[in-house]
Amino acid sequence: MPTELLMPALSPTMIEGTLARWLVKEGDSVTSGDVLAEIETDKATMELEAVDDGEIGELLIPEGTDGVRVNQPIAILLAEGESAAALTPVPASAPTVARAGEGSAPAGKPGTARPARPEAARPPDAGVPVGTETVSLTVREALRDAMAEEMRRDPKVFLMGEEVAEYEGAYKVSQGLLDEFGPRRVIDTPITEQGFAGVGVGAAFNGLRPIVEFMTFNFSMQAIDQIVNSAAKTLYMSGGQMTCAIVFRGPNGPASRVAAQHSQDYAAWYAHVPGLKVVAPCFAADAKGLLKAAIRDPNPVVFLENELLYGRSGEVPILDDFVVPIGRSSVVREGADVTIVSYSMGVEKSLRAAAALEAEGIDAEVVDLRTLRPMDTGTIVDSVKKTNRLVTVEEAWGTCGIGAEISARLMEQAFDWLDAPVARVSGEDVPMPYAANLERLALPQAEGIAEAARSVFRGS
């Protein structure tokens, strides 16, 4: 499958940069480690290296282009024997309107290809009238807007964490909040995860509604005692007397080239804990609507974002109060042959896999869990009743993971509907390696998801 080369980030806060120079041209063969391009910002320059061996299929952005957004595709790398036409367009976000007639003719094997099918519209969430206008926002902007709207709506809501105020967030999610709400409600903390997580819990005990940002969820391991022992269990331990309405949010999951301690998915860790709700959206609209729901929820909510998705744009409904309910998953692509279920970045990869499978005549349905706890098992079961096959996808380690949980639930609730064993696609069972080729190998990729779907499809 062709690989999109994305605009790299020189720093966690970089949003866009200049593609200064291409050092390769279309048709060149490259090997892993070859320098492909020079990238510049006003602060630094860097060389973009090839992660894989292959052939440059297409240069999407001409050299000298300013304002290239981080994670925007800039070139296509073809594996041996592939042609540039094999790349099926990947939606930058879940489509919110049916795009009839836009489906490009698949260039897969002629005998197996099905007619192009319009991409399925996402079923509207409750409360979004059909025909609602939308605006294109990045996930980063959507999260910021969610916090700002809730802080305007409820004076009890405040934000605290490392670098959230003056610096506007290590990943620039809290842009403009200090200016609008002032230092009493947008609070920089010392580097004290267990401390400030506990402070947030205490503020919630006292009736406020804190949003606690972890610079990344990797550092939440310092604070997990407060999240589990103080936030999640208190309502139960106190016999229902004390609530803890708090949101713990921040980027989670594998980032890019930051190695084992900074690249890990905590979804299963927190989804294990009764007393927590756990949310992990992929798209901008869900990021906004679910964060608003999380802030209003009377329970502690762990809200898992993804660094690599912050810069992705998506259509967000223009409504006075757009709230996506926690606990409801979403069918982001309808299909009849196999169900692929995932969350966060895994959904994006699953959609790419589904696009590739379509070219082969396999019609995959993609379910975005959105909430991991409480899990919307019903939507998965309904989908499997239609497709009779299931692939789970997570960037986390597979052992005792979300896929394992879904697999067990299907054994209990949909065993007779399965025509093949559930297949799990997950991160490799190793700490995240640094080297680019090893990192790629350690993570689920669209090719691997597609292969898993083929195996359950043909295995029946």
Binding site: P190, Q194, G198, G202, M237, G239, M242, G275, K277
Partner: protein, 327 residues
Amino acid sequence: MSLDAELARRMYLDMWRIRMFEEEANRQTGLGNVAGALHLYCGEEAVGVGVCAHLRDDDYVLGTHRSHGHCLAKGAPMNDMMAELFGKETGSCAGKGGSMHVADLSKNILGANGIVAGGIGPATGTGMATKIRGTDQVSVCFFGDGAAARGPFHEGILMGSLWKLPVVYVCENNGYQQWVRRENVAVVDSVATMAASYDIPGVSVDGQDVVEVHEAAGEAIDRARRGEGPTLLEARTYRYFGHSMGDREEYRTREEVEDWRDNRDPIALFRAYMAERQWLTGREDEEIRTAAKEAVTAAVEFADASAYPPLAAAHADVLDTEWRADA
């Protein structure tokens, strides 16, 4: 709040109520009515009583694994607490928390806490919320000397000082961290000296002397209420029982315990102080002890007569399903 005869008699009653509650809880463990890790407060009564005497109902208290005394001193109903220890549905926490998680929101007792230093962050957070809201409650956080080694102690006090929060950090230094002498695992003798690192007052008092505790706590609480920030108050004290149930106490001698009981007992010291000032007659002393005894007897009867939680309670209150109007 200066000490007078009336207040002293109330505090003296509170100390006896705690002493007798704990001795009865110990007895009920032997009878099989109370289970689990019971950490008794006997010997440390002057600390909880001396501090809580200054607190209003809307002030916050967060505790430790050894918090029966804090809860009683803050005004938690004894019947509910005993029922909680019995695991009955009438307990403070409906029988679901037990000894280490007693909480009573009606008195802003935000819970004992079974994690060493676990309450320090949340106590700081209640103080932060008080400051954001602009009200004048004070948060008191009790913890042991073992907690002073832990990260949340340093992180919590750092933020308490940084933001000048209305919190009083009360360290009950009883000389032992579970089964090890403090001097074997600590490098400074007095926890109060650690306040210097966070630029707040550090005060060390004799935790067996309720008058001294009361006076120092008053200053710390007044300072917090005036918005001048936190104080680290260390009370040097001693626990008569082992760390928890089943402690064979091989780390200390019987003579050491006897010496504290005979010569440093906080109730006996306070009785002598009051007698000297003619604040307590022999008859009043007798009446107070009888009142404490009757309260404990009634609490056991209440707990004994109460029902165990219905099995449906096992799945209740995991999540708050109520969507509050003000949410």
